[in-house]
Symmetry: C2
Subunit: 111 residues, 2 copies
């Protein structure tokens, strides 16, 4: 039987699979702390939809939220991305190999 | 308005968010070509469930399948992982910063 459970990786990759969530993280990478309303402004979706995306990011440990009075501020918490990158890096030689094969094919065609 | 659509990244991260699919890719990284029945053997799920996972991986461009007679063989196709890694690498300095902050906190506690 294969041992293959890793809830952190599941959550990280699932959180990153949505373009709105990736764009929210990109915005948070530009400023140390951003309020939810500021974060939501550039997106063509409702504030409740953005709040749900922020819940997913928070559950995955990719953001932290702090409430001051009536304002909720979000911060990027990139730690879980490191494990995701480590997982992907194990496959690096395979994508290099694919590229090598492609280059070889193109060169053969040119001869 | 934020321009943030990238279907390839959506599919790659979604495909990688499932532990069975990651384990299938890990198996394919050990052998150049593996039949579907061999691939399915170590998993405690049904063959149709594995076939569905392979569909998701194939739609994401992470595997290729070739039929010879009655056997379908799968191969790893790691290309899409490169784009996913490139996306994650843009955040590398943020996870280093988190680690630096953690180390600083631990050192402060020790003083």
């Amino acid at each position: 039987m294969v041992k293959y459970s890793n809830v952190t990786l599941d959550r990280t990759f699932a959180a990153l699979s949505d373009p709105t969530r990736r764009a929210l993280l990109a915005q948070l990478s530009l400023n140390e702390s951003v309020s939810v309303s500021e974060l939501a402004r550039p997106f063509p979706v409702s504030l409740p939809a953005i709040m749900k995306h922020l819940d997913v990011l928070s559950d995955a440990g990719l953001i932290t939220r702090a409430k001051t009075g009536r304002t909720v501020a979000c911060r990027l918490s990139a730690g879980p991305m490191e494990e995701a990158t480590d997982w992907l890096n194990k496959y690096q030689r395979f994508w290099s190999e694919s590229l090598d094969r492609l280059v070889a094919m193109v060169e053969e065609d040119e001869e």
